[in-house]
Symmetry: C2
Subunit: 338 residues, 2 copies
Amino acid sequence: MEKVTIKKLAEELNLSASTISRALQDSYQIGSKTKRRVLELAAELNYVPNYHASGLRKKVSKTIAVVIPEVADSFFAQAINGIEAVAQESGFHVLIYLTHESCTKEQAILKDFQNGRVDGVLLSITAETAQYNYIQELISRGIPLVLFDRVCEEIATAKIITNDFESSYQATQHLISCGCRRIALLSASNSLAISKNRLAGYKQALIDLDIDFKEDFELACSKQDEVNYQLIKELLTRPDRTDGIVATVEKQATIIYQVCRELNLQIPQHLKVVSFSNLQTAAYLNPALTTVTQPAFDMGKAAATSLFKALKGKNVSLISESQVLPSVLHIRESTCFH
Amino acid sequence: MEKVTIKKLAEELNLSASTISRALQDSYQIGSKTKRRVLELAAELNYVPNYHASGLRKKVSKTIAVVIPEVADSFFAQAINGIEAVAQESGFHVLIYLTHESCTKEQAILKDFQNGRVDGVLLSITAETAQYNYIQELISRGIPLVLFDRVCEEIATAKIITNDFESSYQATQHLISCGCRRIALLSASNSLAISKNRLAGYKQALIDLDIDFKEDFELACSKQDEVNYQLIKELLTRPDRTDGIVATVEKQATIIYQVCRELNLQIPQHLKVVSFSNLQTAAYLNPALTTVTQPAFDMGKAAATSLFKALKGKNVSLISESQVLPSVLHIRESTCFH
């Protein structure tokens, strides 16, 4: 497909190239109406700026931003370490922004980046994020952006993910092989691609192994732990009590342990648990927790590496930088009798 | 004591007030030699800028920075949530910078703040940090800074800490009451005030309860987990093997559990463990971990609240904003037989 240039945009809109360029830089010299026309077309034609050129702009902050839902999660803590390892080599600062799963906050943060506060962005979207125009707009303004872990198909850029479908399939298959027949899945959201993939893997495993899927065994969790506590308690007290849980969010596992203790349910005798988790303490929990462990550090490294390729102006198309890194199922006591 | 003003600095140095003001703003119009003279005197006389005035400067970033050693620690993760809760109300962005315990990195980050990238700073210093001129310099340039958890006496500003001496005394006393006689303390560093206070509390408890203190039972840990793994292994294999450990850093506890498993040592039968920790999973570890739990969320809130008082230009002396919030000892299986 033909490369979209500023010249091309200028022709399409019948404006001068310099007007297009200044509009993309959000220059005060360009009216907001014109700016909107330019940004909309740039987004529509998926205009990818020449980062080498934009790298030559006087204002280089030597800073990249990492925008994530939270830090109280081992995956993100370890991913950040991978990102910092790469940024350090290039002498860049790393700023961490937390969205706390608020789409409004994510939008405000990305808007703020348009003023050149940072040179590039690594983003893992919130559980609420359902429309992406502000992400596309940032890219259109010449700020390279790489998505990791929680990505959205709609944005044409590098996406660094793990094999969520397969991991979830494998986790569910493992629970079935341990004798579970009423298996529940705890999701992070209904909208996230990552959640959809993990749900799909879970459903496929049930189908392939002739276990019937119960709609009400698939729960989208809230950002409030108290709400999740109630959801899980309900799941473990109803007549057709679940006998196996695939938790797709680390902190859900702690709540499951808490509820089981309160209800005097034994893990793994009464309930088997596998959780997506990078907890250092997983092997030392009571009982030791079976986990799907994501390559968090390597995912952070890969995401940062792609971003710096773009920042260093090598003529990279970020789309071709996407990677899928495999997760590993660690079987421990929470799914097996001793 | 007389309030140090720009006028006072001008008189002392026999320069114009505007020169002093521009020097403090790092104006290109002022020579580096003059700047140094001004900053040195400002530091010496502990000049505290009028934040209301500096708040009126055109360039307000509506951003505060949180500079901490790492995020893979529940204390900092929870403190950040407390900070964000306060920042949110004031409509400020929060940037998180990680020093990874590198004093050089901390210095580079704080230097970077001098260009007005942020309006205020919350800092928890690295285990290496031993001189503080770059912290004083930042304050002298009119950027309010509040220290939390890992503070340094030398800087005259708000310090939000917990009762480290008492907590450590209490933890050691508890181990002694459980029958421990060869008690080791794992520190974060030799230089940090927080480490010195925790060491002092430990020593005082030993003295008060007539247990002799062994120099080589007090270990300053490294930032490398592998090194700490070796230190702990050595501690648990020597002839006069320790029978109780006070870990002052959360991640040390996980390593202790790992080493004990490898050496087939039972906790608490062979070794009793208490750790400063905010781990959500502490109660679900095998065995459940006795912790000194810091009021992390409240410490973050208190630090941010002081900072915003200064940012909002209320004529506050940050020094008078210092607070000591108490930690709580949670006794669990790792120090008691069932």
